[in-house]
Structure formats: structure tokens, C-alpha cells
């Protein structure tokens, strides 16, 4: 099922958005001085639909909100840590409270900006964004999903946060996937299932593959819609004895917390092991090295599962 992709999720999303923008002049990108190769064609070809606010994320959300109130379909585009933390209160009042349909497109989930250091890591966004009512959260694991999320966001009248990885990731899905369910059980397992999102789904698949060679069948779920959670997820989780949540995100309030809430609220008879981050970290030498130090790489996860 996996094969290489040569397009980043960001460029896949923006390329699809360009096509939508060509048909609908209400599609507007509001950028906080953030660029991309796929954005260049939008800047040239659809210049009247591109607004650069400069390094001013609060203003980015405010301007996008004003545009949305007047019928535009704005995409607030910035690097993820600043698109979420810096302007959080504007997102709270404009998107969550007033339900203004702005789509926040944040690039750089997790340790995407690895050697840029912790100011540029996005490891608390799930926690802070899912605390906001009415805000939907999508996190694609490959470029196919990312391009589809462009359509999903365009056709929705709800405010949304779409968190994109920066890396070019291998393809998981094909074009026939509708992405309406909110999650996908990519691999069925026996007793244990890893649930993850974004780039960590690939780590989960790597873990699954290595353990399969050893005769252990692990399930893998891609939770690509972090909010709202699909009602059907609890059914799938119940098929397992142990769920392992794996995230490149602080444990407090992240993906593992979501699963914990589902288990508790639905009285599921399933155990949960949460693997994620506990702190910010100054570490360099690339993302894989940082993940290793934080014990969220494939080998660390395998070791953890074997100890369960």
C-alpha cells in the first residue's frame, strides 16, 4: 500500500486549493509571511486572492475573520507553532465563539522544523486547539489525504485547523478514500493496536511491519480527524485489549488524552499506553535523532510494546 510520494502535504493541499481558487474567487489565502513553492503560482495567478499580513498572526486571524464574515473562504496560512499558540485567543473568539469559518493551515506539526529548535516545534497544538469548541481539526498522514482535506475544508462551513507535516511522506492512501469517517484502521491486529496521527502513522506502520516479521499482529489506526471524533472509533478500539497511542506531541491533552477520554466516557474495557513527549527539548541532528532521544522512534515503540 505504501509508495513514495514526491509532493509534500503542504504543496498537495495548496495545489488543490489553487484549483479550487481558480473556480471560486472567494477562496483567499491570508499568509503570515509564510511561503511555499505551490503558493507561488497562487501569488502570481490569483494575486487578488492572496493576502500577506506579515509576521502578525493575530492580525492574520482577524483579517481572515473579517473576510469570512463577508462571504470569503479564507485560509490562514502560517507555520504551525505560531498559527496556533500566538493567535490562540483570536481563534477562540473569532472561530470558536463566533463560529466564523476560517481554515487555519499550519505547517510544521511535531518536530517538522527539527533543527530550528523548540520555538519552531509544534508539540502542544492538538491540546490547545481541541480545547476550543466548534473548531474541527484535521491531520493528514500523506499527500493524498492532504489534497482531499483541501476539498473537505472548502466544502465545510465550519472553522477548522489543519495541521500539516513539513516532510514529504510515503503514500498510504489512494484516490478512492473519501476521508469522511474521521479515522482509518490501516492494519487489523490481534490484541494490540497503535493509534496515531500525521507523520507518526508512518512510525506506527514501521513498528507494525517489524513486529509482523516476529509473528506479532499489531493493528494501526490513522486518526486523521482529531476533532470531532467519529462515533465509530470506540467500536474499533473495543476490538483490542490494549491501545497504544503514539504522538509527536506533549502527552498532556494530546492524542493519548483523546483516547483516554473515549475509553472513560464509553466505559471501554481496553487498556491504554500513551507514548509521547513530556517536555520541550533542545536537540539537533535531524528529526530522527530528536525522536530517538524522546523515545518515540520505531525501535523505542517496539521496546515499549514488548514490555507491555
Amino acid at each position: 500500500m505504501t509508495s513514495s510520494s514526491t509532493t509534500s502535504m503542504r504543496d498537495a493541499f495548496l495545489t488543490r486549493l489553487y484549483q479550487l481558487g481558480k473556480q471560486d474567487r472567494n477562496v483567499v489565502i491570508v499568509s503570515a509571511d509564510f511561503g511555499a513553492p505551490a503558493l507561488d503560482i497562487i501569488r502570481l495567478d490569483l494575486a487578488s486572492q492572496f493576502v500577506n499580513v506579515g509576521i502578525a498572526e493575530q492580525n492574520m486571524i482577524a483579517i481572515a475573520s473579517g473576510l469570512a464574515l463577508e462571504g470569503k473562504k479564507p485560509y490562514a496560512f502560517a507555520i504551525a507553532p505560531f498559527a496556533t499558540s500566538r493567535c490562540h485567543e483570536f481563534t477562540k473568539v473569532d472561530l470558536s465563539l463566533m463560529k466564523i469559518p476560517v481554515r487555519i493551515l499550519g505547517v510544521g506539526a511535531g518536530f517538522s522544523y527539527d533543527d530550528s529548535g523548540p520555538t519552531h516545534h509544534t508539540t502542544e497544538d492538538i491540546a490547545i486547539m481541541r480545547a476550543l469548541p466548534n473548531l474541527e481539526i484535521l491531520c493528514p498522514a500523506d499527500s493524498i489525504a492532504s489534497a482531499k482535506f483541501a476539498d473537505i475544508s472548502y466544502n465545510s462551513d465550519k472553522p477548522m485547523y489543519i495541521r500539516l507535516d513539513r516532510k514529504i511522506l510515503p503514500q498510504i492512501y489512494d484516490e478512492s478514500e473519501s476521508f469522511q469517517e474521521g479515522f482509518k484502521e490501516l492494519k487489523k491486529g490481534e490484541e494490540i493496536c497503535i493509534i496515531s496521527t500525521g507523520n507518526m502513522v508512518h512510525t506506527a506502520l514501521e513498528v507494525q511491519k517489524k513486529l509482523e516479521i516476529e509473528g506479532k499482529r499489531i493493528g494501526v489506526i490513522d486518526l486523521y480527524r482529531l476533532k470531532p471524533i467519529s462515533h465509530d472509533l470506540k467500536k474499533v478500539l473495543s476490538n483490542y485489549k490494549m491501545i497504544v497511542s503514539l504522538e509527536e506531541h506533549i502527552l498532556d491533552g494530546g492524542l493519548g488524552s483523546i483516547i483516554s477520554e473515549i475509553i472513560t466516557d464509553n466505559n471501554l474495557k481496553v487498556n491504554l499506553k500513551r507514548i509521547g513527549l513530556t517536555k520541550y527539548i533542545y536537540a539537533y541532528g535531524g528529526r530522527e535523532n530528536i525522536q530517538k532521544i524522546c523515545a518515540i522512534d520505531a525501535d523505542s515503540v517496539i521496546k515499549c510494546i514488548k514490555n507491555l
Binding site: 483567499v28 487578488s48 493576502v51 499580513v53 506579515g54 502578525a56 493575530q58 492580525n59 486571524i61 482577524a62 483579517i63 481572515a64 475573520s65 473579517g66 473576510l67 469570512a68 464574515l69 463577508e70 462571504g71 470569503k72 485567543e89 483570536f90 473568539v93 473569532d94 465563539l97 463566533m98
Partner: protein, 277 residues
Amino acid sequence: MENIEYLKEKAKEIKELTLNMCINACTGHVTSSFSCVEILTALYHGKIMRYDAKNPKWEGRDRFILSKGQASPILYAVLANNGFFPKEWLNKFCCADGKFGVHLQNDIPGVEITSGSLGQGFGVAVGIALAAKMDRKDYLTFAMLGDGECYEGSIWEAAMFAAHNRLNNLVAIIDRNWLCVTDFTENLVKLNPLDKKFEAFGWEVKTINGHNFEEILEALKDIRSRKRDKPYLIIADTVKGKGVSFMQYKPLWHGLAPSGDNAENAKKELKCEVNYD
């Protein structure tokens, strides 16, 4: 130009409505509301703003963004007075069975945005003005700010953007009442020279007496047809709590409604108020 005496009477009527609703509710930002009553009266009763009280979302309306959302009582009074919603709603201000509370709420007829968190509404107003330019629509966007609100950095982000994008369809009004919550602005962190700051940011600026209808109307004269290539700011020099002697110039009256003897005295003073200059 609308009759000045008519506007003065209207302002008095609106002020009394505002005071009574806050006294009844035992809450509400009376002083923040009183400093901008003349501006709002001029906009809504001085044939400045285009609107349709029976169709609050009329496409051709001018947009009014109250960024200083704590002045919601005065806007609610203006809107009720104009027939946007029943006046009876004012009696239920901050009541369990009421429609609205202390800060501005966007689902009330005539209200464009929820505000109360200072520094936010202005940027939304800028976005609304930008949308008009994109779609070649001729509505104007008016934004009312507090001067204390100008401490928020987001105000300056929005101001820079508006000037850079030549939003000459945007009119901002700063209710320059010289007071924040705890102190006078110039004791706290100096805002002056506020006019020169906005001019440096690329705005056309006019400073007026915000309680003088002649000056207000002159500043807003030909607002639609006057040629300019910059967004326009009116700094309205005002008095926080104007019209009630014991509330004027007093930081500690921020956010409070008078009660008991104070309430009765406030009502008496408003009834006698004749001097708007």
C-alpha cells in the same frame, strides 16, 4: 446635516436608557459607554451610517464594529432606540432570561461581532473593509476603539495593514477618554502623541471634541464622497463618565453601575444635563 438640537436630545435619551439598564442590572460599563454616546448618536441618527433596522444584515449596510466591546450598553441602547430589537430587551440586560450581557454579542440584531477582548475587533473591521475592496462594494466600515485598547499590539498590526492596503473605506474612531481601568493612560503607559503615531502608520487623522456634535458631524462630513487614499481615524477627545459629576475622571468607576443614592443622583444629573461642550 442633521439638526444639532435633535441629536442632543437623542443622545440624552440614549444615555438615560443606558444608565437605567445598567442600574437595573447592577452592572455594566456606564462610564465607558457615556464617553462615546455622541459619536454613536451621530453615526446612527445623524444620517451618516447606512443601515436598515428591519433588515440588519442588508448587504448594502455600513458595518459598525464596536471593538471596545465593554461599551455594549450604549450600542444596545442605540440599536433598541432605532428599532433593531424591542426596547424591552434592555430591561433584561444581564438577566437569566435576557438576551445579552456586559460585553457585546454578535447574535443580537444590528451587532456585527462579539467583542470584549480588547484589540480584536479592529482587525476584523480591517478584514471587512478589505473584503469590500476585493468585491468592489461601496459599504463603509466604521470601527470604534478605546484608547486603552491601543495598548494591544494587535491594534498596530491592523493599523499597519490597513494603511499599507490603502483601505480608504475604513473609518476608525478612538474614544480618547484618557482613562483605563486602574489609571489615566498618560500615567500608566503614555499613548500620546496618539495622532502622530497613527499618522506615522499611514493614516489620515483628525482630532475633535468627541462631545461636540458640530465637530463630530464636520469630521464625518462627506465621508462617502471625500477623496482620500488612506484609512481615516477620528480621535474623539472625551470624558469617561461624562454627564455624571461623581463618575467623571474616576478610574474606579470603570465597569460599575451606580446604585442607591448614587443611582438617583446620576439620573438627576442626566436629566439636567444641557452642556455638551
